[in-house]
């Protein structure tokens, strides 16, 4: 608990700093709102509708790939810390695990998930 206390303090500290600075800004800054000023910026033209629509599916693919690999990375951390105690058995198991991941990467590569064009 005592080792994690500074982390809690940093959370609070970030909130205080951001809150104070933003409120100073809203006190000191001018307040002259207008319809054109608070419109979404589109190079000066009237906006052609909002941005909450569809976007490229590639971003979803990237996010999916990231999810798979990142979860697996988290699984590998305990193995990396304890490799000396686990010995040959742990090493072979980790290699098998990484080989399965590599097969997944090759599959994604073959199916073109890694090509951006």
């Amino acid at each position: 608990m005592t080792t994690w206390f500074p982390v809690l303090v940093t959370f609070v500290f970030a909130a205080v700093v951001v809150g104070v600075m933003v409120s100073i800004n809203s006190i000191l800054g001018p307040k002259r709102p207008s319809a054109i000023k608070s419109e979404a910026f589109e190079c000066g033209n009237p906006s052609s509708g909002g941005a909450w629509g569809r976007f490229s599916v590639r971003f979803y693919l990237t996010a999916l790939l990231f999810l798979i690999f990142d979860v697996d990375l988290v699984f590998l951390y305990p193995w990396a810390v304890e490799i000396r105690k686990l010995g040959m058995f742990g090493f072979v198991e980790a290699v098998v695990f990484i080989a399965i991941l590599a097969v997944g990467l090759i599959y994604a590569w073959e199916r073109g998930a890694l090509d951006w064009d």
Partner: protein, 396 residues
Amino acid sequence: MRTLVQTLLASGFFGRNTPYDLVAAIAVFVLSAAVFLGVAFPFAGIVSWVERRVWARIQSRVGPNRVGPNGFLQWLADGVKHVCKEDIVPTDADPVLFKMAPYLVVLAFVLPWAVMPFSSALILADLNVGILYMTAVTAITVVGVLMAGWASNDKWSLIGGIRSAAQIVSYEIPAGLSIFPVVLMTGTLSMQGIIRAQGWAPQHWFLFANPFTFVAANILFISALAEGNRTPFDLPEAESELVAGFATEYSGMRYLFFFMAEWGNLFIIGAIIATLFLGGWQFPRVSNNPVVMNVLELITFNVKVLFLVFVSMWVRGTLPRVRIDQLMTLCWKYFVPIAFANMIGTAIWVAIWPEGNPVAGYIMFAAGIVVAIVFIRRVVFYAKRSQMELYYYPTI
């Protein structure tokens, strides 16, 4: 931290019978306030001025030199100007998410300082999962940036936000994989533990421990630049294409927070590399006085970090921006397979030499010196040649 509190209690400064937890809490508050107000935020400001001066030098310009001596107070002037600007929230935007995004970005910049190993005693929290915590909290940036891009309800912001998210999460994989060689060799995730496993001499650094760690250090540095949205990977805020990317709709202090976090993250990138591969604060034991030793270690750590910060400025001033398909190809088709191979290679190395191979350190260090000499000779050669061309064709 604990030793500091015990010395404070023993000195009787707080009177008798003060509870240990109270003194510890006060010490944590004072230290964290000193770290943030005295180091983190001023660093983010000052580095913006230093960076502009360095680029100016690289591009044969002068750079900001009006406010204060050599323009040193430029960052304060910029800050004051941003504070005095109107705080605009677009009518179409989602106001709650729009206002929360800068907080998350600042949080991702502030939280890593809790485990920053400045010296053997100066660390706020020596967590036993230090480096994992570091990678976890720096990734909060993705949430903030994506939130900013989505909440603005602006096409530039949306494209900038999702590009940034795709880039950061992609480079998270090679960066995470490049930490493994060091963890495999030390068997610990604690920042201080990793530094203590290295020595002060370059041949005892993990950078030169074996060929795999050397490759891992380079991959980690490039990935960290990509995660920090730095040139040559600054696609999310590509000014020539996307106005200001995810920050297009922001103004005043909220806008400044995004860029403060970006500049402040340079120190964090440098600190991660210095801790994992460059021996952190390790300094030869020249004195038995803990205060003297800690000051020397603090200076050593900062010199290493600031050198890496300078390298990233140099890269930004030299290289052009890459395209997004090149960016993704570099990450998924080169860095991820190489980083996986690295990890298995290091595991085999650890299996063969559990205590490390001292000869490899010397060989790698010698090879590193040769590479550095060749690089410096190339730089000097081209610098001289460009001067000559400038002399003959001054109007190019």
